[in-house]
């Protein structure tokens, strides 16, 4: 079966000019990333901050224009889309942001925020759009009489639900959840994650779930890719990867996961960046389990 999203050799280099006479420095934020997500899958992308996971997500949506590579959505290369075609394609892929405070315009009523995608794409009449917004509000578990309020009147979890409602307004197939719950309280996190999983089943969504919380990813994602300094160093079925991490970075990352019982003997692995070859290609170490070792 053809994957819903197929990312091939995605590269994003940020060039920083340092004055007239010095050579510009190049930050390789995303350095040849490839992965594929099947329809209906919840694919985790993990790594420490600065590893390029968010940049990858934004490059897929062309919120940041990638330097090179291919992003195939249902077989078509998104990066070659013309402006009107891209506009149309945006209806199929949406993003939920990390920060529920800055992701909603503080000067707009939340009803207008959720309605905006419908207005942009000229869908339905005013009354139809209003009905759809109310429906979306119910879908994400918010009350319809909150529509006329401003974002600051909501809690972080509620705001994140509003952000999800906005992302769902256009009936997308793919949702890129960019650290969508990491700014929330743990108890709220669980609620929002449960909502996202529920929505996935009800609306046949596919997720690219970008996170640094490994235990969360372990619980909800079917497959996962680990990013380190702009490269995917290991990818595979979540269970296999967590049980038998092959790459030193994955091992170090997993050893850093907090454990609830303070008496459990723990061994925190330090990562020695020189101990492995950062340019090593991914190779299949078990069925469906690839690592750059």
């Amino acid at each position: 079966m053809r994957p819903l999203l197929d990312v091939r050799h995605l590269v994003k280099h940020f060039v920083r000019k340092q004055g007239l006479f010095r050579a510009p420095s190049i930050v390789k934020a995303v350095d040849g990333v490839s992965f594929a997500i099947e329809e209906g899958e919840m694919f985790g992308l993990v790594g420490e901050s600065g590893s390029g996971k968010s940049t990858t997500g934004r490059c897929i949506l062309r919120l940041i224009e990638p330097s090179s590579g291919e992003v195939l959505f249902r077989g078509d290369n998104v990066l070659e889309f013309s402006r009107p075609r891209m506009r149309l394609a945006r209806r199929d892929m949406q993003i939920v942001f990390q920060d529920p405070y800055s992701s909603l315009n503080p000067r707009m009523r939340v009803g207008d925020i959720v309605e905006e995608p419908l207005v942009i794409h000229k869908l339905g009449t005013k009354a139809e759009r209003r009905a759809r917004v109310a429906e979306l509000f119910a879908l994400v578990g918010l009350e319809a009489d909150h529509l006329a309020r401003y974002p600051h009147e909501f809690s972080g979890g509620q705001r994140q639900r509003i952000g999800i409602a906005r992302a769902l307004a256009l009936n997308p197939a793919l949702i890129i959840a960019d650290e969508a719950v990491s700014a929330l309280d743990v108890s709220i996190q669980a609620q929002v994650v449960r909502l996202m999983v529920e929505l996935k089943d009800r609306l046949k969504l596919t997720y690219l779930f970008i996170a640094h919380d490994l235990r969360l990813v372990e619980n909800i994602c079917t497959r996962v890719a680990v990013m380190y300094l702009g490269k995917i160093v290991e990818t595979g079925e979540t269970r296999a990867l967590f049980a038998r991490p092959a790459h030193p970075y994955t091992r170090a990352l997993l050893s850093a996961v907090p454990v609830l019982d303070p008496d459990t003997p723990r061994q925190r692995l330090e990562l020695d960046p020189d101990a492995f070859d950062r340019d090593a290609p991914l190779r299949e170490i078990a069925a469906g389990h690839w690592a750059a070792v």
Binding site: L63, M86, R87, R90, L104, P106, E116
Partner: protein
């Protein structure tokens, strides 16, 4: 303090709007026997309390500009006649000159009221124009970034370093000296807008550039919103309180600029009453002591500038703090 400022502004605007009704005389009408006539005193007491009345002012010596009040006969004010608030029967009481008359015997109060219209309209239109142009240029520069941003920012920097009043003088000076009032209005508006927009653009650019990085702007982009929609719906509204502060800074500046230009004879033709042209008439040191009522427009300028400043400062925040507030939410 803020309320006081707002009340003063409302009064000034009402004076401008109601000028034809409030003015006792037509502004261009000259009374040949009232050159430099002192203010007519409106009285209530004449061996007992009366309805407001005046004594007729009689010219005693044209050379010495001496006037005397004819105390024999009080002339009552007429209310709401001929479409004006208060007048007197000219056959009995002569002209009603509450703020005196100028060198041509024209009523200063009436000219001041009509002048408020011209000065305020010019300042308002110019302020609006500068805000619009500044928001547009700043919005484009902040949104696009890169080369366009560089070019627009350097252009506004260039205009900012020019000494504004000299540029205004120079620009006005290259145009024909005598122009119809309407042309002067447009010309001055254009000059003021040209000199005023860079200040606005610089601030708007900074606000738009920083707001653009925020997730809600990125979200708009992800939803397929084009640059026009992003700017109009999301980014420029973020600059709205900054624009409000700029308006309160530009308006008094433009009032003063009009006065300055008209004062040096490069503004409106002197027949048109504005605060500036009226001050030009008072530009004679010996006159100021003999006919101090000629300085009435200076008082008007003072009151309006004070009112605007009170309105801004009365919030307990200096403009700079208002600016900071506009960046938060």
């Amino acid at each position: 303090m803020r309320a006081a400022g707002q009340i003063l502004i409302v009064l000034v605007v009402l004076a401008a709007v109601g000028a034809p009704w409030l003015a006792p005389n037509p502004p261009e009408r000259s009374f040949p026997d009232a050159l430099y006539a002192p203010p007519t005193r409106v009285r209530l007491l004449d061996q007992g309390l009366h309805a407001p009345f005046i004594y007729r002012q009689r010219l005693v010596s044209r050379l010495e500009r001496r006037f005397e009040e004819d105390r024999s006969r009080p002339v009552p004010l007429r209310w709401f006649t001929g479409g004006r608030l208060a007048t007197v029967d000219e056959a009995q009481g002569g002209p009603l000159l509450v703020l005196g008359a100028d060198a041509f015997g024209r009523d200063i109060l009436s000219r001041l009221l009509y002048g408020t219209r011209a000065s305020l309209a010019l300042a308002l239109v110019a302020t609006l124009g500068a805000l619009l142009l500044g928001a547009l240029v700043g919005g484009i520069a902040g949104y696009t970034g890169g080369l366009a941003d560089e070019a627009l920012s350097r252009l506004s920097d260039f205009i900012l370093v020019l000494p504004a009043i000299y540029v205004a003088l120079a620009l006005r000076a290259v145009m024909p000296l005598v122009l119809p009032a309407r042309t002067v209005f447009l010309l001055l508006t254009a000059i003021f807008v040209l000199l005023g927009w860079p200040i606005v653009a610089r601030g708007v650019r900074a606000i738009v550039a920083s707001e653009r990085q925020r997730d809600y702007a990125v979200a708009g982009q992800a939803l397929g919103a084009g640059p026009v929609r992003l700017l109009a719906r999301h980014l420029l509204p973020a600059a709205s309180s900054y624009l409000a502060v700029q308006a309160t800074l530009l308006l008094p500046a433009f009032i003063l600029a009009e006065a300055t230009l008209s004062y040096v004879g490069l503004g409106f033709p002197s027949a048109v009453p504005t605060w500036g042209t009226m001050l030009q008439d008072a530009a004679n040191v010996s006159l100021v002591s003999e006919a101090p009522w000629m300085l009435a427009p200076a008082a008007a300028i003072f009151v309006l500038v004070l009112a605007v400043n009170l309105t801004v400062q009365g919030t307990g925040r200096a403009p700079v703090q208002l600016l900071e507030r506009s960046n938060r939410w």
